[in-house]
Amino acid sequence: MAAAAGDGLPEAATRRLAGGAWSSGLSVSDFASCLDMGMEPVGYVQGYAVLQWSWFMATGGFGMGMGGRLGVAGGWGVTPQRGGQYVEQWQCPHGFVSAEHRMYGANYELTWLEDSWASGWGLATGRMVDEAKELGATGVVGVVDAMRPLVGGTTVEFRASGTAVVVPGAPRPATPFSTYLSGQRLAKLIEAGFAPIAVVATLSAVRMLGYCVTHYQLAGSTAGTWYGSGAGGVSGVGPVDQVNRAQAAARRLARERVRAQLGADVLHGAALETSEREIGEGDLSIQCTLKGTRVRRFKDFDPLPDATPVVRLA
């Protein structure tokens, strides 16, 4: 967190939070549900962070983050590097064909991009929680977050906002809880025995630089079949192994990273989103975000009766 609450908040924010009418981002029905639960809104809180941004940094090309051996003969070359960073390499099975032939290919994790995203998201949500602390809040409900391009495609803004609430009669945690939930579903979550702890999110990014076989497959070429599948060639219809490994790795990394933040807690309402960008013929950049609310069990499920099927005659 770049700045402590108060010191780092804009002057207008400090004034706004200091007094006057409270504000809330809750809908009327969510507001009603929160009052029912004994949560009183004390203010609309928000956090922002603008970062200089590039999905394709010049230093992020082939070689960035690559510490493994090139020249692994054919097949998979699984070489996790740098404390678990994902790296895999492929080598052309055809032998020397021409100077333009893609002799090597690699899938590797873009740790600089992941770190940048984690930094931006962490700053925005951290500032939002700092505003809640400034208000003496117990937690922040109905969190909405986003990342959007800002100016000229080279800057992005991370934003997070929600409604700070207090729970009279409850101990105030050192760090207010935060959750994407509000209203009725938050009430059900608590009744089911889960306490909201914090919103969590992560981005995993994998770049795939295709070797000749992947390049042929993504271009629809059957050139690689000259050598037969035993020699690394591909038939016209078949799995694109390098892409499949990269796609699976992006999802696995996102899940592992979120899991590392959970301990024995639960990620509720997980939302997994992926996107790809083609950065050149046969080359892909794959991003995967995983978000949700970290919740902790504070009591066992109350025994539930079998649900009764009903037909509404409305």
């Binding site: 009603a32 059900k188 629809g220 016209g236 694109v240 990620l267 509720h268 509404r312």
Partner: protein
């Protein structure tokens, strides 16, 4: 205990030390994309979520298959079938690794481009509450609600059944084109191509269900439309969940008839809410899960 008491108890847990994965009872963090309603419903039926699981597969389609032909593009259909099988296999492996017995609420992403088909499957692995061992049993795109209803009726999901057909609509001959000018008449070339493609997609889905040893396929979703790569290519994709009967006969589910007496849109009464007893619910609104 009232809802307000429970909220205070929950807030007290926020400040408590975080439990460590692998601590007492070997507990580990779980991830789930189910809503709280689905989690509660599954719990009432003796199931619990374990982990978010996925399977993804890209299969290549060779150059030229879309250009110099009419009728079905066999290579694209083969690539689709291969990609679905491959992604489903990954999903199953992912489920088994996480200790789940089945996967529910699978979202199926299908993309077809000139040179590849990609299939993306994402769902939540679930297992029986309190069971010591978990044998893999099913993959299904049914929601938790549909799963509970299906099993209550004596049926059981087995796996995803899918089929596809990609067709290039044949052109009319010059004579046909000329003869049909200015008339509202059937275009047999298009009718036959589309009819055939639909039937083939459904047939392949049923074959896929038979391979699963399913007696039937429920919740079939048909997707159709023009492929992004060519306006003349029409694609049909059929996906559903293969099911079989686990009991000797279908069990009739007899729902209770309910006549709701509340209004669809309820007014918000601040005064009433402030005096409302703890635990009373107000009208719900659109929320995130």
């Amino acid at each position: 205990m009232t809802l307000r008491d429970e909220v205070r108890q929950a807030v007290a847990a926020v400040g408590s030390p975080a439990p460590h994965a692998g601590g007492a009872g070997g507990a580990k963090g779980t991830t789930s994309d189910l809503t709280i309603d689905e989690t509660l419903l599954l719990h009432s039926a003796g199931w619990e979520p374990v982990d978010l699981v996925y399977g993804i597969s890209w299969w290549s389609i060779p150059w030229g298959v879309w250009q110099w032909t009419t009728g079905e593009v066999q290579e694209a259909s083969t690539a689709f079938t291969g990609a679905v099988d491959h992604a489903a296999k990954q999903l199953r492996q992912s489920c088994e690794q996480s200790g789940g017995s089945g996967v529910l609420g699978v979202e199926v992403g299908v993309r077809v481009s000139s040179h590849h088909v990609s299939i993306e499957l994402t769902g939540t692995a679930v297992r029986r509450t309190g069971a010591d061992s978990h044998r893999f049993e099913f993959v299904s795109d049914l929601s938790a609600r549909d799963f509970v209803l299906l099993t209550r009726a004596g049926w059981w999901p087995l796996g995803l059944a899918a089929g596809a057909s990609f067709v290039i609509a044949p052109r009319r001959t010059a004579r046909e084109w000329a003869a049909q000018q200015g008339q509202n008449v059937e275009l047999p070339n298009l009718t036959q191509a589309l009819y055939l493609a639909r039937e083939r997609a459904m047939e392949r889905m049923q074959q896929s269900g038979t391979a699963l040893k399913a007696e039937g396929i429920v919740a079939v979703k048909l997707r159709e439309g023009r492929a992004s790569s060519s306006a003349r290519v029409i694609q049909f994709v059929a996906i559903g969940t293969g099911v079989h009967l686990r009991t000797s006969a279908h069990r009739t589910v007899s729902p209770e008839l309910v006549v709701p007496l509340d209004e669809q849109v309820r007014a918000f009464d601040v005064k009433g809410l402030r005096r409302a007893p703890a635990g009373r619910r107000s009208g719900g609104g659109p929320e995130r899960t």
